[in-house]
Amino acid sequence: MRIGIPHIGNLYIPLKALFKKLDVDYVTPPPNTRRTLSLGVKYSPEGLCIPFKLTLGNFIEIAELGADTLVMPGSYGTCRLGYYAKTQDKILKDLGYNIEMIQMGVSEQKLLGLMKIIKRLANNASWYKIISVYTFCQKKMNAMDRIERLVQKVRAVEIEKGTANRIFKEALDAIDKADDSRTLKEVQTGYIERLNNVEKDPDARPLVVGITGEFYVVLEPFSNYDIESELGKLGVEVRRTTFLSEWTKFSLFLNPLGINEKDRIHRAALPYLKRDIGGDGWESIGEKVLHSNEYDGIVHLAPFTCMPEIIAQNIMPTTRENIPVLTIICDEQMTKTGVLTRLEAFVDLLKHKRRAGNGSRLKIAV
């Protein structure tokens, strides 16, 4: 059994450690490239969203490396995601790959079902081992996300652009190599210190932009042309609430127990959208409402034809909490120049708005 799981941001780092410690053969998917995307686009139905196309591309590339057990996260609901595993399974089998597709969803399998899948994937390792290994991987994710949060701040104010990104890359490598909790801790503190020591502009008061939108395109830099780094280059501090470490913690363990970290966001969205419409549409609206005083603007990322995000996009301009929102639709037709131009215009607009004073009546149309 060779296991393969598609890319979602840097998820491959903890997964690699997880399966290595459990002695399971795991194939790290090759990094997302144009080839991955074209493979995905070629074999997908045209109307599907970029998460489907990219993950299908990943699956094909993993299958080429000999993986035979593919895991697709996604649970049943109103979003199409719950059906992706089935469709991708069919497409891959039609292409002649001899694979088994496992769908890992929280809402219908519940905690017990999930644990059974994990146990099976882990070659029936003891629960003690699985839990201790998982804790270690969770630590890796936490370290990654702690460093990334700092990187988002440093990118905006660093004197020499690109330093933070370079350090982040090294940090990811180091986290990937760290083999026990102590090294991991050292790596974390070391890199946090390095980031703190990066030469920064002391007078900078960077604009703060929140990133919200569909989970996959927010977390996978390849699908959004690494929008966070680009904003950083423009001197903007990026904030987002979606992080892998929190998502895994909540969706794997706390949500099945009835604890939901997003209640606060949902409550904020309630006056404008009363129901969970699937995907992350509810959260997108909630975040706009919740952070309207904290942020200067919001970049809303959505895959093309994403149903929940289209609803969110339609409702967002009508909220009483007024804050500029730039919706960027991600798909295979997107170009870097197009995104950059729109980002520059947006950032200019935010700068003007700030200069004019937050309380001014300056009318801004986005």
Binding site: T78, R275, P308, I311, N314, I315
Partner: protein
């Protein structure tokens, strides 16, 4: 009180039930006129470009009702079958309408979600009914009458092989009818074409460029998903997808599977551009048809720019192929 019902989306599936419910409660029901170019244009102007065609049409219908009624009925249908859901657009519809059409009269919203349990469902219906009539017994009666009307309607369609517009015309007289639909049928039937797709695409004559009439005039018999009985639908669904995921799409897939095997010379799938569920489901049907290799399948994608000539050309080519294939009775690749 006048309750407005937009002639779009779920109208074709549930209109008799809705009409009965509101009339039993003593309200007057106003239905928007059939879709026109102006309605679609006005609806499209309110939303972002990515929004799918049926929703734009729906908003156009809501706009046409704005001054004509005191309340507009927009249900949020999440699930009508356990563990089987609907597209997010049905769920977000009331809130989205409120956001993009602020001048609309107050909405009558009802949450339909069978996963939440019967009592929640009844409560939701009661809450809506009570806003029209204070008497809870009246609401109960209206609910039961509506359910019966719905069952009769389904029975009428599958029993007499009628399409929803025909069934509605039969139930409520010619008021529902559009200018003269002749169902005497062509003199000589050259072929049977199955149309699969959502009712709001197949029966909205404006957005599909009078597809049914065109096909009938050129000598084809038309069969639609409503004419397939439930057991056949279920078995076809199980064969193609292995289990239901979306309610309304399953009907389409099941009918597609059924007609690909029997009862039609050709199957035409109709979907709206950017439709989330259909982009998956039509592909499932297409894959299935390739596997079977027995009945030709074509998928027509509709959007507000679809040129009539383009649709006509593809229809003609498709039907010509069916006739030729029938005559020579040999396999033709599509």
């Amino acid at each position: 009180m006048r309750v407005g019902i937009p002639r779009a989306l779920l109208y074709y599936q549930y209109y008799p039930a809705w009409k009965t419910f509101f009339e039993e409660l003593g309200a007057e029901v106003v239905v928007s006129p059939p879709t026109t170019q102006a309605m679609l244009a006005e609806g499209s102007a309110r939303v972002v470009a990515d929004t799918c065609l049926p929703v734009k049409v729906f908003l156009g219908h809501v706009l046409s009702l704005v001054d004509k009624c005191d309340r507009i009925f927009i249900p949020a249908v999440r699930s009508v079958e356990k563990k089987v859901y609907n597209c997010s657009k049905f769920l977000g519809l009331p809130d989205m309408t409120k956001a993009v059409i602020p001048e609309a009269p107050p909405l009558l919203e009802v949450d339909i979600d069978v996963n939440e349990g019967k009592s929640r469902l009844y409560q939701s219906i009661y809450a809506m009914g009570r806003s029209i009539n204070w008497n809870p017994f009246k609401v109960r009666q209206a609910g039961l009458a509506a359910w019966q009307a719905y069952l009769d309607y389904r029975e009428l369609m599958s029993g007499s092989k009628l399409t929803p517009p025909e069934a509605l015309a039969g139930m409520y007289g010619t008021a529902e009818k559009e200018p003269e639909v002749t169902r005497t049928g062509p003199a000589r039937v050259k072929g049977t074409v199955a149309l699969i797709g959502h009712p709001y695409l197949i029966y909205d004559e404006y957005i599909n460029h009078r597809l049914i009439r065109r096909l009938e005039q050129s000598g084809n018999r038309i069969v639609t998903p409503e004419m397939v009985a439930t057991p056949e639908l279920k078995s076809a669904i199980a064969e193609i997808t292995g289990g239901a995921y979306w309610t309304y799409e399953e009907e389409v897939v099941g009918a597609g599977g059924h007609y690909l095997q029997s009862g039609a010379d050709g199957v035409i799938g109709i979907m709206a551009f950017g439709c989330g569920p259909d982009s998956l489901m039509m592909d499932m049907v297409r894959r299935h048809s390739v596997g079977l290799g027995s009945t030709p399948f074509m998928c027509l994608t509709l959007e507000e720019h679809t040129a009539e000539a383009g649709v006509v050309t593809r229809l003609e080519a498709f039907t010509d192929m069916i006739y030729r294939r029938k005559k020579k009775d040999r396999a033709v690749c599509v």
